[in-house]
């Protein structure tokens, strides 16, 4: 009986590996068909921390809760979206490519992983995610996003009808102002610095970056979002990426101060993309 189960496990594992390997091969293959920018990293980024969240995902999906003011309540602990980690190309619609300007192609090909701000315990910026949860706290006039990792940090989205201040100093998360369009929270952000990388393989941006995020909670257990990037300094046109986060249950944000014992960077010698490229 036990032997049967073990054999079955072997067969299941083989099948999973075959499917995933085939998918990865397809992804790499697509990146080698003459386009200037290879699709780099397997969307299953995040490794161990991502797998640590699997069993926390909410099982049932009732209707999205509503806040006292009638708006959908986006509050909750949400799991990260791997398509916004290793290579944001994975978050485009199938078949689309990032409209990088030539200098931006060159930069993302040459960047070394040791120089990745995220690996150096600096903020990930927007839209990059790390394989750790984030928590949304929604009030009528302010939405706060608590970010567990790569370093503890937060975003404030003012939903009070105010507009961006003039003459913003460039920062890692910029200045975010939100408004509701029906059941969608639309977040407009400007005022970015050019220091963070969009992903692990180093897609760049400039201080001209303008991001519009559209958040919806289609049911209790999921948060859907679209992220439109408009950066005429690095991309030839605006483009939109898509993601979904699962609601996590019986869990909380945990402490994560990356610079406590960061020994890695001194030993990182390559690029954040497979060596074949």
């Amino acid at each position: 009986m036990r032997e049967d189960r073990v054999c079955s496990s072997v067969r299941s594992a083989l099948f999973v590996v075959a499917v995933l390997t085939f998918s990865a091969a397809l992804a790499f293959g697509q990146g080698q068909q003459g386009q200037p920018e290879p699709a780099g990293v397997n969307p299953a980024g995040g490794g161990v921390p991502m797998r640590s969240l699997e069993r926390l995902k909410a099982k049932s999906a009732g209707p999205a809760p509503r806040a006292a003011d009638g708006k959908p309540d986006l509050s909750g602990l949400w799991g990260p979206e791997p398509r916004f980690m290793g290579d944001i190309s994975n978050a485009l619609k199938p078949g689309e490519k990032l409209p990088l300007q030539p200098w931006a192609v060159k930069v993302s090909r040459e960047r070394l992983s040791k120089d990745d701000p995220e690996a150096n315990c600096l903020p990930a910026g927007i839209p990059r995610q790390t394989p750790f949860p984030f928590k949304i706290i929604q009030t009528p006039k302010l939405v706060v996003i608590l970010i567990e990792g790569n370093m503890h940090t937060y975003r404030q989205v003012f939903v009070d009808g105010s507009t961006h201040p003039k003459d913003l100093d460039p920062t890692w998360f910029g200045d975010s102002r939100g408004k509701w369009e029906g059941d969608t929270l639309v977040v407009d952000t400007i005022g970015f610095n050019d220091k963070f990388w969009f992903d692990g393989i180093g897609h760049p941006h400039t201080e001209k970056l303008h991001i519009v995020e559209r958040y919806r909670r289609p049911d209790a257990a999921h948060l859907d979002y679209e992220v439109t990037i408009d950066d005429p300094g690095a991309y030839t046109r605006p483009f939109t990426m898509y993601g979904q986060s699962p609601l996590l249950q019986n869990a909380e944000i945990m402490e994560y101060f990356c610079n406590e014992n960061n020994q890695d960077v001194a030993h990182v010698i390559g690029k954040g993309r497979p060596a074949k490229e």
């Binding site: 073990v6 072997v10 640590s52 699997e54 014992n261 030993h267």
Partner: protein
């Protein structure tokens, strides 16, 4: 561990060998999964820290020479969610660790699975559904 269990771990190991991304830095830029091997020795230090928990193991070669290896685990928050506790590894424990070594030649490696002194096999990744303990 049975031969068939080894096969499961081996097969899954093959898959994870092609996974390039790690939590906080690019796996492919730091470790060489194609040179994965097993290290056996005695735990000399444990650091339950971010961005990675680490433990150090004295490994003796055939000539009797001892090398201290610096082995990287996931971050404490991820390990906790996988069912690890900070006292699972203790100084003096005899362990066997399946690792991917550093590309730069340092005596440093990414620990994929850890077989504890009591025989429990702690899988930092593939056994998430079982709480990290096989």
């Amino acid at each position: 561990m049975t031969i068939k269990n080894s096969a499961v771990v081996g097969i899954l190991g093959l898959f994870f060998a092609v996974l390039p991304a790690l939590a906080h830095h690019a796996f492919v830029a730091q470790y060489d999964a194609s040179k994965s091997t097993t290290l056996s020795g005695v735990v000399t230090k444990v650091e339950w820290t971010n961005p990675h928990a680490r433990f150090y193991v004295d490994v003796k070669d055939k000539s009797g020479a001892v090398t201290n290896w610096n082995l990287e685990l996931a971050s404490p928050n991820a390990l906790r969610r996988l069912g690890w506790t900070r006292d699972i590894l203790k100084v003096g424990d005899q362990v066997s660790v399946f690792v991917a070594p550093a590309k730069d030649g340092a005596k440093m490696a990414n620990a994929r699975t850890v077989t504890l002194a009591d025989g429990r096999k702690m899988v930092a990744g593939v056994a998430a559904e079982q709480g990290g303990v096989q």
